[in-house]
Symmetry: C2
Subunit: 139 residues, 2 copies
DNA sequence: CACTTAAATGCAACGAAGTTGCATTTAAGT
DNA sequence: ACTTAAATGCAACTTCGTTGCATTTAAGTG
Protein backbone atom coordinates (compact mmCIF):
# COMPACT_ATOMS: atom_id res chain seq x y z
CA UNK A 1 0.00 0.00 0.00
CA UNK A 2 1.30 3.43 -0.97
CA UNK A 3 1.78 6.06 1.68
CA UNK A 4 0.43 9.45 0.67
CA UNK A 5 -0.29 12.64 2.57
CA UNK A 6 -3.95 11.75 2.33
CA UNK A 7 -3.49 8.28 3.77
CA UNK A 8 -1.48 9.75 6.62
CA UNK A 9 -4.24 12.30 7.26
CA UNK A 10 -6.75 9.48 7.29
CA UNK A 11 -4.65 7.52 9.74
CA UNK A 12 -4.62 10.47 12.12
CA UNK A 13 -8.34 11.03 11.73
CA UNK A 14 -9.09 7.36 12.26
CA UNK A 15 -7.49 7.74 15.67
CA UNK A 16 -9.55 10.86 16.44
CA UNK A 17 -6.61 13.18 15.96
CA UNK A 18 -6.80 16.32 13.85
CA UNK A 19 -4.49 16.23 10.86
CA UNK A 20 -2.38 19.27 11.69
CA UNK A 21 0.83 20.22 9.83
CA UNK A 22 3.11 19.30 12.74
CA UNK A 23 1.50 15.90 13.20
CA UNK A 24 1.69 15.18 9.50
CA UNK A 25 5.35 16.13 9.43
CA UNK A 26 6.26 13.85 12.31
CA UNK A 27 4.18 10.92 11.18
CA UNK A 28 5.34 11.17 7.55
CA UNK A 29 8.94 11.39 8.65
CA UNK A 30 8.53 8.21 10.66
CA UNK A 31 6.81 6.45 7.76
CA UNK A 32 9.61 7.37 5.39
CA UNK A 33 12.36 5.96 7.56
CA UNK A 34 12.83 2.47 8.93
CA UNK A 35 14.22 3.52 12.28
CA UNK A 36 13.05 5.19 15.44
CA UNK A 37 13.29 8.92 16.14
CA UNK A 38 14.42 10.81 19.21
CA UNK A 39 12.84 13.93 20.57
CA UNK A 40 15.69 16.10 19.33
CA UNK A 41 15.30 14.64 15.84
CA UNK A 42 11.63 15.52 15.96
CA UNK A 43 12.63 19.03 16.99
CA UNK A 44 14.86 19.25 13.95
CA UNK A 45 12.08 18.04 11.69
CA UNK A 46 9.64 20.57 13.12
CA UNK A 47 11.90 23.56 13.43
CA UNK A 48 9.37 26.18 14.31
CA UNK A 49 6.91 24.18 16.37
CA UNK A 50 6.90 24.88 20.08
CA UNK A 51 8.50 22.09 22.11
CA UNK A 52 5.40 21.89 24.31
CA UNK A 53 3.39 20.99 21.25
CA UNK A 54 5.93 18.34 20.33
CA UNK A 55 5.75 16.79 23.79
CA UNK A 56 1.98 16.76 23.57
CA UNK A 57 2.05 15.35 20.05
CA UNK A 58 4.29 12.47 21.07
CA UNK A 59 2.06 11.74 24.04
CA UNK A 60 -1.08 11.71 21.91
CA UNK A 61 0.59 9.45 19.34
CA UNK A 62 1.53 6.99 22.07
CA UNK A 63 -1.96 7.17 23.56
CA UNK A 64 -3.57 6.48 20.21
CA UNK A 65 -1.33 3.54 19.35
CA UNK A 66 0.56 5.26 16.55
CA UNK A 67 4.04 5.13 18.07
CA UNK A 68 5.76 3.38 20.96
CA UNK A 69 8.87 3.87 23.03
CA UNK A 70 11.43 1.68 21.31
CA UNK A 71 14.60 2.43 23.21
CA UNK A 72 15.77 4.56 26.07
CA UNK A 73 19.42 5.57 25.90
CA UNK A 74 21.25 7.45 28.62
CA UNK A 75 19.56 10.67 27.79
CA UNK A 76 17.15 10.15 24.94
CA UNK A 77 14.00 8.19 24.25
CA UNK A 78 13.57 6.69 20.78
CA UNK A 79 10.08 6.35 19.35
CA UNK A 80 9.09 3.94 16.58
CA UNK A 81 5.99 3.49 14.46
CA UNK A 82 3.46 0.97 15.66
CA UNK A 83 2.02 -1.72 13.43
CA UNK A 84 -1.68 -2.00 12.75
CA UNK A 85 -2.42 -4.12 15.82
CA UNK A 86 -1.95 -1.14 18.10
CA UNK A 87 -4.83 1.18 18.84
CA UNK A 88 -6.04 3.63 21.44
CA UNK A 89 -7.22 0.59 23.38
CA UNK A 90 -3.84 -1.07 23.73
CA UNK A 91 -0.43 -1.69 22.27
CA UNK A 92 0.50 -5.17 21.05
CA UNK A 93 4.14 -5.70 20.22
CA UNK A 94 5.91 -8.98 19.82
CA UNK A 95 9.24 -7.77 18.61
CA UNK A 96 12.55 -6.64 20.02
CA UNK A 97 14.53 -3.45 19.69
CA UNK A 98 17.96 -3.19 18.18
CA UNK A 99 20.41 -0.35 18.70
CA UNK A 100 23.28 -0.26 16.22
CA UNK A 101 26.51 0.85 17.82
CA UNK A 102 27.81 1.97 14.44
CA UNK A 103 25.01 3.94 12.75
CA UNK A 104 23.25 4.56 16.08
CA UNK A 105 19.89 3.70 14.53
CA UNK A 106 17.22 2.03 16.64
CA UNK A 107 14.98 -0.44 14.84
CA UNK A 108 12.17 -2.87 15.60
CA UNK A 109 13.16 -6.43 14.70
CA UNK A 110 11.02 -9.54 14.44
CA UNK A 111 12.30 -12.97 15.40
CA UNK A 112 11.64 -16.05 13.29
CA UNK A 113 10.95 -18.07 16.37
CA UNK A 114 9.78 -16.74 19.68
CA UNK A 115 12.28 -16.86 22.54
CA UNK A 116 11.40 -19.30 25.29
CA UNK A 117 12.25 -18.01 28.73
CA UNK A 118 11.78 -20.30 31.71
CA UNK A 119 11.70 -18.84 35.20
CA UNK A 120 10.38 -21.50 37.58
CA UNK A 121 7.68 -20.26 39.98
CA UNK A 122 7.40 -16.91 38.22
CA UNK A 123 4.46 -15.72 36.12
CA UNK A 124 5.76 -13.97 33.04
CA UNK A 125 3.52 -11.23 31.66
CA UNK A 126 5.73 -9.18 29.42
CA UNK A 127 9.18 -9.79 28.00
CA UNK A 128 11.20 -6.83 26.86
CA UNK A 129 14.30 -7.49 24.78
CA UNK A 130 16.80 -4.86 23.71
CA UNK A 131 19.88 -5.78 21.74
CA UNK A 132 22.87 -3.72 20.77
CA UNK A 133 25.40 -4.58 18.11
CA UNK A 134 25.94 -4.05 14.40
CA UNK A 135 22.85 -3.79 12.27
CA UNK A 136 22.16 -5.49 8.96
CA UNK A 137 23.05 -2.42 6.94
CA UNK A 138 26.31 -1.67 8.73
CA UNK A 139 27.41 -5.29 8.77
CA UNK B 1 30.19 -15.94 53.89
CA UNK B 2 28.79 -13.69 56.59
CA UNK B 3 28.21 -10.04 55.88
CA UNK B 4 29.46 -7.76 58.63
CA UNK B 5 30.08 -4.04 58.85
CA UNK B 6 33.77 -4.81 58.63
CA UNK B 7 33.41 -6.91 55.49
CA UNK B 8 31.38 -4.13 53.90
CA UNK B 9 34.04 -1.61 54.83
CA UNK B 10 36.65 -3.86 53.29
CA UNK B 11 34.61 -4.18 50.13
CA UNK B 12 34.50 -0.41 49.78
CA UNK B 13 38.20 -0.06 50.49
CA UNK B 14 39.07 -2.79 48.04
CA UNK B 15 37.46 -0.61 45.39
CA UNK B 16 39.42 2.44 46.51
CA UNK B 17 36.42 4.02 48.15
CA UNK B 18 36.51 5.46 51.66
CA UNK B 19 34.19 3.68 54.04
CA UNK B 20 31.98 6.59 55.01
CA UNK B 21 28.75 6.27 57.02
CA UNK B 22 26.51 7.06 54.05
CA UNK B 23 28.23 4.55 51.81
CA UNK B 24 28.04 1.88 54.47
CA UNK B 25 24.36 2.54 55.00
CA UNK B 26 23.53 2.24 51.32
CA UNK B 27 25.70 -0.78 50.65
CA UNK B 28 24.53 -2.62 53.78
CA UNK B 29 20.91 -1.92 52.91
CA UNK B 30 21.45 -3.43 49.49
CA UNK B 31 23.21 -6.45 50.93
CA UNK B 32 20.37 -7.09 53.37
CA UNK B 33 17.67 -7.11 50.73
CA UNK B 34 17.34 -9.27 47.66
CA UNK B 35 15.90 -6.58 45.42
CA UNK B 36 17.00 -3.39 43.74
CA UNK B 37 16.65 0.08 45.25
CA UNK B 38 15.47 3.33 43.74
CA UNK B 39 16.95 6.72 44.39
CA UNK B 40 14.04 7.75 46.57
CA UNK B 41 14.47 4.60 48.65
CA UNK B 42 18.11 5.51 49.11
CA UNK B 43 17.00 8.97 50.20
CA UNK B 44 14.77 7.39 52.81
CA UNK B 45 17.58 5.19 54.06
CA UNK B 46 19.95 8.16 54.33
CA UNK B 47 17.59 10.76 55.68
CA UNK B 48 20.03 13.50 56.45
CA UNK B 49 22.55 13.04 53.68
CA UNK B 50 22.55 15.69 51.00
CA UNK B 51 21.04 14.49 47.71
CA UNK B 52 24.16 15.62 45.85
CA UNK B 53 26.19 13.20 47.93
CA UNK B 54 23.72 10.43 47.16
CA UNK B 55 23.96 11.08 43.42
CA UNK B 56 27.73 11.03 43.67
CA UNK B 57 27.70 7.90 45.81
CA UNK B 58 25.55 6.02 43.30
CA UNK B 59 27.80 7.13 40.47
CA UNK B 60 30.94 5.99 42.29
CA UNK B 61 29.34 2.64 43.13
CA UNK B 62 28.48 2.10 39.46
CA UNK B 63 31.96 3.18 38.39
CA UNK B 64 33.58 0.77 40.84
CA UNK B 65 31.46 -2.20 39.85
CA UNK B 66 29.49 -2.38 43.08
CA UNK B 67 26.02 -1.72 41.69
CA UNK B 68 24.35 -1.62 38.28
CA UNK B 69 21.23 -0.15 36.79
CA UNK B 70 18.74 -2.99 36.94
CA UNK B 71 15.54 -1.41 35.73
CA UNK B 72 14.31 1.94 34.53
CA UNK B 73 10.63 2.59 35.17
CA UNK B 74 8.75 5.62 33.93
CA UNK B 75 10.28 7.85 36.50
CA UNK B 76 12.75 5.89 38.58
CA UNK B 77 15.96 3.98 38.11
CA UNK B 78 16.44 0.81 40.16
CA UNK B 79 19.95 -0.17 41.22
CA UNK B 80 21.01 -3.68 42.17
CA UNK B 81 24.12 -5.15 43.73
CA UNK B 82 26.74 -6.52 41.38
CA UNK B 83 28.23 -9.95 41.75
CA UNK B 84 31.94 -10.48 42.24
CA UNK B 85 32.77 -10.51 38.54
CA UNK B 86 32.20 -6.76 38.28
CA UNK B 87 35.02 -4.35 39.02
CA UNK B 88 36.14 -0.84 38.29
CA UNK B 89 37.42 -2.24 34.98
CA UNK B 90 34.10 -3.51 33.69
CA UNK B 91 30.70 -4.92 34.49
CA UNK B 92 29.87 -8.51 33.52
CA UNK B 93 26.24 -9.50 33.84
CA UNK B 94 24.58 -12.48 32.32
CA UNK B 95 21.21 -12.27 33.93
CA UNK B 96 17.88 -10.63 33.34
CA UNK B 97 15.79 -8.22 35.37
CA UNK B 98 12.36 -8.94 36.71
CA UNK B 99 9.82 -6.38 37.83
CA UNK B 100 6.97 -7.77 39.90
CA UNK B 101 3.70 -6.03 39.14
CA UNK B 102 2.39 -7.03 42.56
CA UNK B 103 5.11 -6.27 45.12
CA UNK B 104 6.85 -3.85 42.71
CA UNK B 105 10.22 -5.33 43.55
CA UNK B 106 12.94 -5.46 40.93
CA UNK B 107 15.27 -8.46 41.06
CA UNK B 108 18.15 -9.96 39.12
CA UNK B 109 17.27 -13.45 37.85
CA UNK B 110 19.51 -16.10 36.36
CA UNK B 111 18.33 -18.45 33.63
CA UNK B 112 19.09 -22.14 33.66
CA UNK B 113 19.83 -22.09 29.98
CA UNK B 114 20.93 -19.09 28.00
CA UNK B 115 18.42 -17.65 25.53
CA UNK B 116 19.35 -18.12 21.90
CA UNK B 117 18.43 -15.17 19.73
CA UNK B 118 18.92 -15.37 16.00
CA UNK B 119 18.91 -12.21 13.93
CA UNK B 120 20.27 -13.07 10.46
CA UNK B 121 22.89 -10.59 9.16
CA UNK B 122 23.13 -8.79 12.50
CA UNK B 123 26.04 -8.89 14.91
CA UNK B 124 24.76 -9.19 18.45
CA UNK B 125 26.93 -7.64 21.12
CA UNK B 126 24.70 -7.26 24.14
CA UNK B 127 21.27 -8.65 24.97
CA UNK B 128 19.18 -6.93 27.55
CA UNK B 129 16.12 -8.72 28.87
CA UNK B 130 13.56 -7.22 31.21
CA UNK B 131 10.51 -9.16 32.29
CA UNK B 132 7.47 -8.08 34.21
CA UNK B 133 4.97 -10.34 35.88
CA UNK B 134 4.42 -12.00 39.24
CA UNK B 135 7.52 -12.89 41.20
CA UNK B 136 8.27 -16.14 42.99
CA UNK B 137 7.27 -14.72 46.37
CA UNK B 138 3.99 -13.21 45.26
CA UNK B 139 3.01 -16.24 43.19
C1' DC C 1 48.65 9.12 68.92
C1' DA C 2 49.05 13.58 66.48
C1' DC C 3 49.66 15.12 61.78
C1' DT C 4 48.84 15.27 56.83
C1' DT C 5 46.38 14.96 52.65
C1' DA C 6 43.39 13.49 49.20
C1' DA C 7 38.78 12.16 49.14
C1' DA C 8 34.17 13.00 50.44
C1' DT C 9 30.54 16.02 51.83
C1' DG C 10 27.26 20.04 52.07
C1' DC C 11 25.56 24.12 50.28
C1' DA C 12 24.26 27.28 46.78
C1' DA C 13 23.66 28.12 42.25
C1' DC C 14 22.79 26.60 37.81
C1' DG C 15 20.85 24.13 33.67
C1' DA C 16 18.08 20.91 31.19
C1' DA C 17 13.77 18.55 30.61
C1' DG C 18 9.23 18.15 31.06
C1' DT C 19 4.55 20.02 32.81
C1' DT C 20 0.60 23.19 33.52
C1' DG C 21 -2.63 27.11 32.86
C1' DC C 22 -4.51 30.02 29.80
C1' DA C 23 -5.33 32.85 25.80
C1' DT C 24 -5.40 32.29 20.78
C1' DT C 25 -5.72 29.75 16.58
C1' DT C 26 -7.36 26.16 13.60
C1' DA C 27 -9.30 21.67 11.71
C1' DA C 28 -13.34 19.81 10.49
C1' DG C 29 -18.24 19.04 10.91
C1' DT C 30 -22.80 21.48 9.99
C1' DA D 1 -19.67 30.75 6.04
C1' DC D 2 -20.31 29.43 10.84
C1' DT D 3 -19.43 26.88 15.05
C1' DT D 4 -16.90 24.42 18.36
C1' DA D 5 -13.84 21.35 20.36
C1' DA D 6 -9.17 20.36 19.69
C1' DA D 7 -4.63 21.94 19.08
C1' DT D 8 -1.13 25.32 19.57
C1' DG D 9 2.06 28.90 21.59
C1' DC D 10 3.74 31.30 25.32
C1' DA D 11 5.03 32.04 30.04
C1' DA D 12 5.72 30.25 34.34
C1' DC D 13 6.87 26.57 37.18
C1' DT D 14 8.58 22.08 39.02
C1' DT D 15 11.68 18.40 39.13
C1' DC D 16 15.97 16.25 38.46
C1' DG D 17 20.56 16.14 38.11
C1' DT D 18 25.10 18.77 37.80
C1' DT D 19 28.93 21.96 39.01
C1' DG D 20 32.04 24.93 41.81
C1' DC D 21 33.82 25.70 45.99
C1' DA D 22 34.56 25.85 50.90
C1' DT D 23 34.62 22.60 54.80
C1' DT D 24 35.01 18.14 56.89
C1' DT D 25 36.73 13.52 57.39
C1' DA D 26 38.81 8.80 56.45
C1' DA D 27 42.88 6.67 56.51
C1' DG D 28 47.79 6.46 55.84
C1' DT D 29 52.42 8.04 57.98
C1' DG D 30 55.90 8.73 61.40
MN1 LIG E 1 9.22 -1.42 18.34
MN1 LIG F 1 21.04 -7.16 37.71
ZN1 LIG G 1 23.82 0.32 11.81
ZN1 LIG H 1 6.40 -9.77 43.88
Amino acid sequence: MNITIESTKDLLRSRKLKATPTRLEILSALQKRNSAVTFSEIQNICNDTDRVTLYRTIQSFVDKGLIHKAYQSEDEVHYALCSHNCSSEAHFHNHLHFKCTRCKKVTCEYLEEEVKIILPKFQIEKVDITISGICKNCN
